[in-house]
Amino acid sequence: MQNIKNNMQKNTKIKKPIDGRTQGGESWLYSEEVKEHFFNPRNFMRHGEEETFKFNGMGRAGSPACGDEMVIWIQVDKKTDPSSAKATEGEERIKDVRWRTFGCGSAIASTSALSEMLIEDGGLAIDDALKIKPQDIIERLGSLPDRKVHCSVLGDKAFQAAANDYFRNTGQHDRVIIAGSKVIDKELKITDKNIEEAVLEGVSNLEELQKKLKIEKINKDSIPEIEELIKFYNEKYFD
């Protein structure tokens, strides 16, 4: 009896026990909306569809902690005047989107919901789409358990990468948004992450990198560091 009492006292001393639900251990149920998206994902890239799907932006995101991976493809209506800095009303809308993931139910549901938000009502303008926060996705899903919120960030990040890819594809290097990586070339906004990804996709020298990132001329000052990183990542992954 005394033992049980001791154990009980022990338990109450743990301020925040780690559990698999929420931080507070409250609700861990999925909303109806989450289940609906999980069982019937919208705009999912089906097997073999990537051969025919037309897109001008592709982005990848992944969290090393859980082995998740997310890829998003977007088709954006181009500006009629590529030289103008800003798209006029109704331009640069996201016309179509596909995604695919290695992730869990929450990642599937939240990216499915995000994909709906991107293309409904004739498609969101890319600048507005970039303003979507994980909170907006969670709101649309009704809710997500706390511990699953980070899964919704995956789709969001992959979309940002896809938007950056679209900006590069259309020569708008100044519009590329950088987050969480080291900038190597300020003008062209090339980051260490860009180089790492390029190497993973087979780039082994400067020319190939330029081709991959659609860069015509690279700044002389950045070349040594870029070449160094290409070498570094090639050794890291392929030696």
């Binding site: 931080q23 090393p64 909170q135 706390d146 919120v149 980070h150 990040k157 987050a179 969480g180």
Partner: protein, 62 residues
Amino acid sequence: MAKVKIIREKCIGCGTCPALAGGTFEMDEENIAIIKDNSTDDKETIQMAVDSCPTQAIVTEE
């Protein structure tokens, strides 16, 4: 405002906290979350980021 702290060793760089509360958190060059000097987020937003950290690397200081 609730004071928060990041345990660097626990952070896995998933980027959830700046995505939820960009006025308070950002990722540094090593892709680890850091706290900005002047937070512009409300208490609820910060708490949401604290609760959502997959490794519980953000702690609230009482």
